[in-house]
């Protein structure tokens, strides 16, 4: 199978993730969209590693996964805290930190 298809798939996933981040209000969904973008990037890394015939991209994919896991821990904790205080998971509501 042509590896460039994987790149196209990865671009599509990244675009869907970006749109999700921009248009959805629920923090959990936004969070999942961010995960989608990260995994799209992972897919591109692996595809390019395959195309170039070395392991660099695969290694980076592992790093991204580790960082994503850590990010999820911190992010979910924040979301839970916001929900506890505001009884809402909307990301438009906590907008006090502004001009």
């Amino acid at each position: 199978m042509n590896p460039s298809n994987y790149v196209i798939l990865s671009a599509l996933l990244f675009g869907i993730g970006t749109l999700g981040v921009l248009v959805r209000r629920n923090a959990i969904v936004v969070f999942m969209s961010v995960e989608l973008m990260l995994n799209a990037a992972n897919l591109a890394f692996v595809a390019f590693a395959r195309m170039n015939g070395n392991l660099d991209g695969q290694v980076v994919a592992f790093f991204v996964m580790v960082v994503a896991a850590a990010e999820v821990v911190v992010g979910l904790a924040i979301i839970v805290q916001i929900f506890r205080t505001r009884r809402s998971a909307s990301i438009d509501e906590p907008n006090l930190l502004k001009y």
């Binding site: 970006t18 981040v21 921009l22 248009v23 209000r25 990301i91 438009d92 906590p94 907008n95 006090l96 930190l97 502004k98 001009y99």
Partner: protein, 631 residues
Amino acid sequence: MQEVMPATGVFSLLWLLIALPLVGSAILLLGGRKLNKWGAYLGVFTVLIDAVIAIAMLIAMMGNSAEQRTFSQNQFSWMFAGNFKVDMAFQIDQLSMVFVLLITIVGTLIHIYSLGYMSHDPDKRKFFGFLNLFIAAMLLLILANNYLLLYVGWEGVGLASYLLISFWQIKPSAAAAGKKAFIINRVGDVGLGLAIMVMFVTFGSVGFQDVFGATSQASEGTLTAIGLLLLLAACGKSAQFPLQAWLLDAMEGPTPVSALIHAATMVTAGVYLIARSHAIFDIATTAATAVVVVGVITMFMGAVIGSAKDDIKKSLAGSTMSQIGYMVLAAGLGPIGYVFAIFHLLTHGVFKAGLFLGAGSVMHGMNDNVNMRRYGALRTAMYVTYATFIIGTLSIMGIPPFSGFWSKDSIIHAAFESNTLVGVLTIIAAAITGFYMTRMAAMTFYGKARWEDNVHPHESPKVMTIPLIILAIGSTFLGMGLLFWGNIETWLEPVVGIQKEEIAIPEGLLMAITLVLVLAGAAYGWIQYARREVPTVAPRGTWLTRAARQDLYGDVINDTLVVQPSFWVSRFLVWFDGSWIDGLVNGSAAFFGGLSGRLRHYQTGFIRSYALSMVGGAVLVVLALVLVRLS
């Protein structure tokens, strides 16, 4: 060139001359009220010891041959940077020697006199501290062996002069007079500072030996520049035209200060500077001519001011200016005149100190009134003061055989040797001297008593009259002594050189003409102020009198030419600073403040709008990368 000997024997005490009064002043000024009881005696003691050391040095110096009378003592290296090196080194030669004697002996007498004059002053200890500081600074000025060290002493005497003029600083006029003296002196000091810098650039050194040894290598233009800068310095310190205005106001200080600093020693430092730098002026003839011109102008200005003032101290200050004018013009004549400039300086130092102390004694008996129109007929009330003052008057007028006659006659003779016009001018100034001194003596001691009520003139205590008597003896015999017994000409010749010229008029005739003119001036003064009634309120007088009462408009000229323009400049600068500099700074701050006030509205607080801008930015970066790749 003279041989420079290491300072051995009594000359190894050279540093002590400066250290003694310096330590004395430090103790007096830092010691606090505990010293009030005996502090003044400490002040007198240090200067007295200095005088004893100075006399011992004179005796030792006279024992050496004429070529072996320069002694140098290197204390330590003061500073060095690259090739530049300045030592804390002292040097004494025949020229410094006579100065040291004048400063220490007259200084001692004036210190003793001050014991009486300042006896009731609550700040007596401070006064003696300042006087000692002055003596130390003046000796440093005289004993330095390089220009930089001389500059330290030069500034030191300026400081002491400032402190002592404004000693009674609760009087606004005294405080202002001190500031005026300090600021005008600063102008001259800038000249000295620049002269030292030019010397360093030209010769690579500021030591006397190095500079004078290398004058032949420098261009005449450079030497003229140095000479003119040194003249500026001398003008400031010696109250010569155009920096003369401070001396008359300096009379606000206590009278012993006027006698010591503003008559006998500090104001003659300019003459010392010119005589010391004679190697420069010998080559830079233009600068030397400028020195003569300045001397002649000041000689007349001082004489005219002295003739019109009713304040006895200011009148004496005018006469000091005039006499220093004589010295400066003699110093400008070159080798013809140096010796006589110093000769007149010495005799003047003694008789003028005597006159000032006499004036102080009169004021002491007259409730500190200085207006001569309220004096009169004091010769019976204070006989010792009267007699000594008259001796001083005869001496300054140049009546033989008093001291002033010999020195002033020598200067007149030297002036004729150089230039007949200058010679004639010196004789005319001598005649005016005869007039104003007679006027002063007549208004004070003769005529009818014009005393204010409740004034009871009395003779001053012995502690004041004995210095007067000693100075009067000096005013009588010092001239003859120096000329015939001390051989001042051969004494100073190895240092400053000497040159004799023939003159057209026979010497005796010249002396006779001078004497007749001086006596004519004196007779006019006598008729005006002793035979006629002196009004207690000054009459309007001629335009010249009115001008002279205003110090020949010295203050007005300074005010119009310097003070007002600097006010304008500073007002312009304040306006420029306020509107342009501040405008620029505040304007840019306001601009960025306003800009950020607008920009911060993009911080909406909505996470999704931040995310959008991040995406937008990322897209832009990618687009830019793609564009760069493609092109």
